[in-house]
Amino acid sequence: MQIGRVVGDVVASRKDPTLDGIPLLIVQPLSADGQPVGRLLVAVDSVGAGVGQDVFFVRGKEASFPFHPAQPAADAGIVGILDHWTVGE
């Protein structure tokens, strides 16, 4: 997984039907020290995350697992909201 911050959302009226009803959020991946790192991505959300929250997300087909037995066409999914994280001891 990676940590990231939700910075927006996506509305798509016309899309793969497997994505119907699933929130699509824009995530900025973060480094351990909280700095933006890498490209923004769009992730499906199964935990009710919102803009401004720090989250962790999974890549690959596991992104669809929270929606079982549905299999949304997604390659990134938010699977937890972070309370906080610490670096070092």
């Binding site: 997984m1 940590i3 351990a32 199964s46 992104a63 697992f65 929270p66 999914g77 937890g80 994280w85």
Partner: protein, 90 residues
């Protein structure tokens, strides 16, 4: 699998139920000679690793799910070993 170093720990109350009780560790991937490379990742820990320890990490879903021991877990990274030594000969 990749080598990395545990650099921190994350706390999440609201998460998918398969993560309940799992320790979430921040891991900095490293080359075999210990040079940090690439973005920090968040891995579930299945071996009791701690901060500053060198670890072996699977970064693939099925293997990570096995390590976590929970079916259908939406996980793609797990610490599966604590490294004692790395010896690159060539």
């Amino acid at each position: 699998m990749i080598l990395g170093r545990v650099v921190g720990q994350a706390v999440s109350t609201h998460k998918r139920p398969q993560f309940t009780g799992a320790k979430l560790l921040l891991v900095q991937p490293e080359t075999p000679d210990g040079v940090a490379v690439g973005a920090t990742l968040l891995a579930v820990d299945s071996v009791g690793a701690g901060v500053s320890e060198r670890v072996l990490v699977v970064i693939e879903g099925r293997a990570a799910g096995e390590a976590l021991g929970r079916k259908g877990a939406p996980v793609d990274a797990a610490i599966v070993g604590i490294v004692d030594a790395v010896d690159v000969v060539e």
